[in-house]
């Protein structure tokens, strides 16, 4: 039982990160119908900027995160701006464009920070909480709390604000949205910006848990993407559930199947997707591709 619960806790912690990554994927997808393959690299850039301002500039961790979110948000806007001429013209080229941005960002990180990577000490120095032999890292609780707050904010933005509603409208029918005076390009840029900000949030938070290196985006990107698909691509609650799900499945597969855990995780993922091709919250708001 102890192993079971401890495994679950371990899975939740990384799951929260995957959930944030998944939300970024989903947000861009629901608005533009586009899979942003540069998303994993944006996570990595976010992690680097957060750790640089935290370690080198010695800003408080929260402030370093804010800077990271700001800078990557800008990167998101740039990506969207460069790709905008292709919107509704050549979808495949747009996809490849995001892959290209991923490569560029990774190369940039190597040029700026070197290929070696860095370790980030935990900003929450408190010892883990001991609950009858179960150990819960205080930092994990912080990560979960921030992820929950980010989700709540995003949902509030999408459902209660005018701009959010405009983005929803673009997601449903971009021509109709244009007809009622919504600026589709601006809405897309917003989606990219928020998506990139979420990526930075995930990257900044995962730094102290893992190790910041130019290659870290690959794995987080894949797991986050899988989380988004699992939950129902385009759905925000789905991204949360899918991300946490992937984290927990991963953790248990690691306990049971050891060296074959990765294989088992994606086998389970495949089976779920075969049974429910649209994911857990399978409403496909977008189908523009």
């Amino acid at each position: 039982m102890q192993v079971f619960l401890q495994t679950f806790i371990g899975g939740m912690s990384l799951g929260a990160i995957y959930a944030l990554v998944a939300m970024g994927f989903s947000l861009v997808y629901r608005t533009m119908g586009l899979v942003n393959f540069a998303h994993g690299s944006v996570v990595m850039i976010g992690a680097y900027i957060a750790s640089t301002f935290y370690l080198s500039v010695k800003l408080p961790f929260a402030l370093a995160m804010a800077v990271a979110i700001g800078v990557t948000g800008l990167i998101g806007i740039i990506i969207e701006r460069v790709l905008r001429p292709l919107e509704n013209k050549d979808f495949d080229l747009m996809l490849i464009g995001t892959i290209g941005f991923g490569i560029v960002l990774e190369a940039l990180a190597i040029i700026i920070w070197g290929a070696t990577g860095r370790a980030v000490p935990s900003p929450v120095p408190a010892a883990p909480i001991d609950l009858g032999g179960l150990r819960i890292r205080t930092y994990d609780l912080v990560v979960l709390a921030i992820a929950a707050a980010a989700t709540a904010l995003l949902v509030y933005f999408l459902q209660r604000t005018k701009r959010g509603a405009a983005m929803q409208a673009v997601a449903m029918d971009h021509q109709a949205a244009t007809a009622v005076g919504i600026h589709v390009g601006r809405s897309n840029a917003m989606a990219f910006m928020i998506g990139a900000g979420l990526a930075a949030l995930a990257g900044g938070l995962v730094g102290p848990l893992l190790y910041v290196s130019p290659a870290m985006g690959g794995l987080l990107g894949i797991k986050g993407f899988a989380g988004a698909i699992l939950g129902g691509f385009g759905s925000i609650p789905g991204a949360i559930l899918g991300g946490l799900g992937i984290g927990v499945i991963d953790s248990f597969a690691a306990g049971q199947f050891q060296g074959y855990s990765e294989l088992v995780t994606f086998l389970i993922f495949t089976v779920i997707i075969m049974i429910r091709p649209t994911g857990i919250f399978g409403e496909r708001t977008v189908n523009r591709a």
Binding site: Q2, S13, I99, G117, R118, L209, S213, G218, Q258, S261
Partner: protein, 385 residues
Amino acid sequence: MLGRVRRPLAAGLLALGVLFVAACSPPGEEQTGGGGENTGPIKIAIANAQSGQLSSLGAWELKGAKLAIDEWNAKGGINGRQIEIGVFDSQGDPTVGTNVARKIASEGFVAMLGTAESAVTIAMAPILQQAQIPNITSGQSPGLIAVKSPFLFLNGPTSLTYDETLAKHVVDQKGLKTIALITNNGSYGKGEHDSFTKALATRGVTPVADQVVTTDQKDFSAALTNIRQKNPQLIFVGAEEVQSGLIVKQARDLGIKAPFAGAAPQGTPVFLDTAGAANVEGTIVSTPYLSNEVDDASKTFAAAYKTATGEEAEMHGAKAYDGAQILLTALKNSNAAKGKELADAIRAVKHKGLLGDFAYDDTGVGIFATSIGTITSGKLVPAAG
């Protein structure tokens, strides 16, 4: 999926850059052996992970090898010929490695230094053997010997030596019997797992836990909780630097107090930084290069390394430095030979290096000893007793 697509592309770009640099060198190499009749620079390839998760290894290796080569060049090269380096990025990926091997073979390099990843070196070995290009690798997996290439040499001991020395220290000398294992299923981790289990078995010790993780795994809750329940006196880690660091960090978070033990990666700064200095206190490390202050040679090396790179020297740089010295000595002794002649010359080199006294046997291993150190106050110091 994304990463897989992206990396080869990035590699292509990088390789192109390297190619361009390499292409600027004068041509005029032929594959036939022998002879100092050639003029112009001698081309040596340095292949290592310059990008990807294992790039810290590649960076150290490159610095160490380059330092040796620069020293030789400053002294006038080999028989008046300068040594020219071609740097290749293997990304720590066997598939990329084979491409790099083909490139090295077709571009007239006489020898290759690297890689630091056994799996990559093993993948490259058949191509290099066919092209008769001697390769001094920094890998340490017993699998390297199983390749049986007369052109493949190691610049350090194999895992068998590391783990035999470690087992001797912890079981025979310290009398620890309840030992848990956590290793990854990559080439290095697998080698460590098998070597250490074997060394324990000859002492009649069976590990109380034997957890295997994947090379990409980041969360070790399940494996570590299992280990915690067995309450071992010592935990053996067989994984690369970053992953080892994460394992130790998470183990401490889970309340595991037992010391850790392992081979080379556990003695590196990356391991220490990733895990946090307080968490690695007391880690037992089996390494052929304990510190920069062991003797005069290591002090000189460390000083030169610091001047050249601005960083503190560590084991991987030292290994690569030794490997490069051996290769250059062989080139000098054979009057810049190539192919089989050069391989024979490497085998004949007796080198007093930073890691110890090299004398190669038929398997391509030149050194058969490591020392035991413990991490004390964030520094690796020779173990007492």
